[in-house]
């Protein structure tokens, strides 16, 4: 069954599966997670079924404490409603839950990210005359500001990990940790910004200067492959780890329960 994913790979899992599993594991010990659209959705649902059974999933559509019986394709699916703890208006969700400071982790995807974790999901090219029009902020801008910390999951390439993002939709560590700290304190932000980035090649955290650092390589990935797919000179941890491959149970959950159609893991 695993063959259809990565033919010939002895470990028998895809890069997308590794990314989703690693992202889910990052939620261990977290309590309240705001679930972004796309890849975060499957990662957070996997975490609730594995490392974080007490995780409260918050969907911007207005749901607190979701218990989806199936993986929702959209983040406003009826399965996130039935059996949830609370369904509230979006005014309350964004006002009382998010801006009120109750979200431990905001889990976002991104089209472009820079070394300080600033995110673009708005346009490629000039705003008024875009080469590519992307979806825009949705809730990402306020999640990045108000969630206590931000996790990011995205595929990496020189088009997505760039020296300079074309539009800043969601603030990360701005121009560096010192500036970001000063501005967050002055503005009374509740969020401390980005803390983990999980890609199809590895796991990154942010160092004291607020800059992204490769801390763990996924099985089969190399530092060279990482460097070749990042638009700046990426910092690499001295004690670079190797990500534990997906367990049988993690793969089973992804393949049989969460994404039997392979929409996320192709």
């Amino acid at each position: 069954m695993t063959e259809r994913r990565v033919a010939g790979d002895p470990r028998a899992f895809s890069k997308a599966e590794m990314m989703i599993v690693a992202a889910a594991r990052a939620l261990e010990g977290q309590r309240v997670c705001f679930v972004g659209v796309g890849l975060p959705n499957i990662a957070v649902n996997l975490a609730q079924r594995t490392v974080a059974p007490e995780l409260e999933m918050v969907y911007e559509a207005g749901v607190f404490g979701a218990r989806p019986a199936r993986l929702p394709l959209s983040i406003g699916d009826p399965t996130i409603v039935t059996g949830s703890t609370a369904v509230v208006s979006m005014l309350e969700l964004f006002g009382y839950y998010l801006q009120g400071g109750l979200i431990d982790v905001g889990f976002l995807g991104a089209a472009q990210i820079d070394r300080f974790g600033n995110i673009n999901t708005t346009v490629i090219g000039d705003y008024k005359h875009p080469t590519t029009r992307l979806p825009g902020s949705g809730g990402a801008c306020e999640i990045a500001i108000n969630a206590r910390q931000v996790f990011v999951i995205m595929r990496q390439s020189t088009r997505s990990f760039v020296e300079r993002i074309d539009f800043r939709t969601s603030p990360g560590n701005l121009g560096g940790a010192e500036q970001a700290e000063r501005i967050r304190r002055k503005g009374g932000w509740l969020g401390r910004g980005p803390s983990v980035v999980v890609t199809d090649l590895g796991i990154y955290h942010f160092d004291e200067s607020g800059e992204m650092r490769l801390d763990s390589l996924h099985p089969g990935a190399t530092v060279e492959a990482v460097r070749a797919s990042i638009g700046w000179d990426i910092k690499v941890a001295q004690a670079l780890a190797t990500t534990e491959p997906p367990s049988h149970e993690e793969l089973r959950l992804v393949r049989e329960e969460l994404d039997p159609g392979g929409a996320y893991t192709k």
Binding site: G76, T82, M90, H129, G136, S137, R168
Partner: protein
């Protein structure tokens, strides 16, 4: 006590759109994934409205269709996509300049910004304050997002202006003939969008008696007081969904992706599914009973009842 003589606001979709949606209007068909009135959007296309400003947090497939049909000159939004699937081709082509004879203006916020705009509209406030937009390019892209200084302690946050749709259209599980409307499941910002609007059309799965509404007044999200027309249109939200009635038709959203990539395919779809049909009943006939059957919930999940008590 004297019985109140209620004037029925029940109308056909055709009559409601003809009477209440005018060229040049700002129209909000709201509903976050849940309860999106595709039926109203299709009727607006059929009646050939022009120069509309279309407001919605997530323009979704319905605004892709409406923009493709040429009803809009502008969209006001916060997230532009086919949720969980991809992009909205008809809208993107017009924004990216691929169809220069149909330019599309954009006015862009974040989700909370849009919700706050409707809320300011509903509350008749000149602005709504929020902690979004710090250190982003959004206030540069949209100069209507403005800083505001707190009168307590010099803190600066951001404000958005009120949004007052000329018409807000919402789909709901049920309403009375007077327009008192009840919803369960995701509430989105329909209440705020309705209170902010000059005119309101409610489209429902089921018309119920006043007694059903009054038996559970905490479920009422929109009072008939602000409703201009009640349209009874079962399945009127397809391919969006109605909690407890039918599922989101994810296959439709997935199928839209390749259609949306081609202007010709979109126009062909509009001919087949909108122009050549005279309304929602014909659309559902064409969709077919088998497809509808697949969208029924797998089982019922009753809420249970609570007791309000009689107090005489």
């Amino acid at each position: 006590m004297a019985a109140s003589r209620v004037v029925s606001k029940v109308a056909t979709m055709r009559d409601a759109i003809a009477a209440l949606v005018r060229d040049g209007d700002t129209v909000a068909i709201e509903g976050f994934t849940h309860l999106i009135s595709f039926a109203a959007g299709h009727e607006i296309i059929r009646q050939g409205r022009r120069d509309l400003t279309l407001a919605r947090l997530t323009p979704d497939v319905i605004y892709d269709q409406m923009v493709a049909a040429g009803v809009a000159r502008k969209i006001v939004f916060s997230w532009l996509g086919n949720p969980g699937v991809g992009g909205l081709g008809a809208i993107r082509r017009r924004i990216e300049g691929d169809i220069p004879e149909q330019p599309l203006e954009v006015e862009e916020y974040s989700h909370f910004g849009m919700v706050a705009r409707y809320t300011a509209g509903a509350m008749h406030l000149p602005f709504f304050p929020l902690r979004s937009y710090f250190e982003t390019d959004l206030p540069v892209a949209n100069p209507l997002i403005r800083p505001i200084v707190s009168p307590y302690g010099e803190e600066t946050i951001y404000a958005v202006p009120p949004l007052h749709p000329d018409v807000t259209i919402v789909h709901a599980q049920r309403a009375s003939a007077a327009g008192d409307t009840q919803v369960w499941g995701l509430l989105g910002c329909q209440k705020e969008a309705a209170f902010a609007a000059d005119r309101v059309i409610v489209v429902v799965e089921e018309l119920v008696s006043d007694e059903v509404i009054r038996a559970d007044p905490n479920r009422t999200i929109i009072p008939g007081l602000i409703v201009d027309a009640v349209v009874v249109e079962p399945w009127g939200a397809h391919p969006s969904y109605v909690q407890g009635s039918y599922d989101r038709d994810n296959r439709f959203y997935l199928d839209w992706d390749p259609i949306s990539r081609s202007e010709d395919a979109v126009q062909a779809w509009l001919r087949e599914w909108v122009y050549d049909l005279d309304g929602r009943a014909a659309y559902m006939d064409k969709l077919g009973a088998e497809r509808m059957g697949l969208l029924r919930p797998s089982a019922s999940a009753p809420s249970g009842a609570v007791d309000y008590g009689e107090y005489r």
